[in-house]
């Protein structure tokens, strides 16, 4: 199981702060996000558009990074604050 954690405006748009994704083999992050969107019943673009910062186990990674069972994946969108 990979734990996908959503923050800020992505959490708002997805309607949830956490999605668990079962993994049987190391999987590219891009594909994990697609599985996460399907598991949560949301449009896949919500997780990958709007330029989130992706971090696996507290390290930032690109979208082709291989995610393993037990990994924590954080999606952090930019925030500007203000007004």
């Amino acid at each position: 199981m990979a734990r996908i954690l959503l923050f800020a405006s992505i959490k708002d748009r997805a309607g949830t702060g956490r999605i668990d994704v079962p993994l049987t083999a190391p999987t590219p992050l891009r594909a994990v996000l697609a599985k996460a969107a399907a598991a949560a019943g949301i449009e896949e673009g919500i997780l990958s558009r709007g330029c989130a910062l992706f971090a696996v186990n507290q390290e930032t990674v690109p979208l082709d990074h291989l995610v393993n069972d037990g990994d924590e994946v954080a999606l952090l969108p930019p925030m500007s604050g203000g007004r």
Partner: protein, 269 residues
């Protein structure tokens, strides 16, 4: 102690007795020149604590005026200063707290035309601004000028803080190479924000500014500190500089400031 008045020794005594600060550190604070972008939600705690710490010169850049809805979180302003330019209101607050501080009021909108000149006058920039075009403008100017950029941002109950330090860590574009499509990230006015969250994040920024000035502690360079107020969770992510970053990478392609409103797809902000 050389270089201090008796009043300063007394005022800053709680700093001076700290081994990591001492008289030497307090002198560094008094000699420092820090530019604070925004005298709003993040700017308020930043300005409060930098002024209290005796940062000798603080530039306050804000072109807005104090509004009632600000008072939910912008704690350096006051009910009797509604309608006053925020940078001026900030100056009044700081002068009452610490007359050692020389406040430079910059009652202007930051643009590609004035940024290099303004930033050039300070040692570092602490960013409490409230829109994406400014974030990118600030980033690019700081990279080009080699100035540390102490970044903070908030959304509802989530906040983040990091220090973008040229040559030592990533820049904002390494994290977010493209701005979000317009409308994808609501502002505080649209989405709301827990007022005190601005206090927490702004204070964390002020800590990083002080550590940069003193040259002590572990700076949040190459690290993003995330805070969620509802879950009371702190998280630290390790960031990497992007070697191919168009602004701070090994072969930069953006070597001059651009039109940031256009870059962010917003017209006439």
């Amino acid at each position: 102690m050389a270089g201090f008045t008796d009043e300063q020794i007394y005022r800053y005594s709680r700093h001076i007795i700290l081994p990591e600060v001492g008289g030497v550190g307090q002198q560094k604070l008094l000699a420092a020149r820090v530019l604070c972008l925004g005298a709003g939600g993040l700017g308020s705690p930043i300005l409060q604590y930098l002024a209290a710490a005796g940062v000798g010169t603080i530039g306050v850049l804000d072109f807005d005026v104090v509004d009632m809805s600000n008072l939910q979180r912008q704690v350096i302003h006051s009910y009797d200063r509604l309608g006053v330019p925020k940078a001026e209101s900030a100056r009044q607050f700081i002068n009452k707290l610490n007359p050692d501080v020389n406040v430079e009021v910059i009652n202007e909108r930051l643009t590609a035309t004035n940024v290099m000149d303004i930033f050039g006058r300070y040692d570092m920039v602490v960013d409490g601004s409230d829109n994406f075009p400014t974030r990118y403008l600030v980033n690019d100017a700081c990279v080009m000028l080699g100035k540390p950029n102490i970044h903070g941002s908030i959304f509802r109950f989530d906040g983040q803080v990091t220090v973008f330090k040229p040559k030592e860590g990533p820049c904002y574009r390494c994290l977010y190479p493209e701005p979000p499509p317009p409308g994808m990230v609501p502002s505080c006015q649209e989405a709301g924000v827990l007022g005190v969250l601005a206090g927490v994040v702004g204070c964390l920024q002020a800590v990083e500014v002080i550590k940069q000035i003193l040259g002590t502690g572990d700076a949040l360079v190459g690290k993003l500190l995330m805070y969620n107020a509802l879950k009371t969770e702190f998280r630290k992510l390790n960031l990497r500089r992007d070697k191919d970053c168009p602004v701070c990478g090994d072969n930069p392609t953006v070597t001059a400031l651009i039109d940031y409103e256009q870059f962010c797809g917003v017209g006439g902000h």
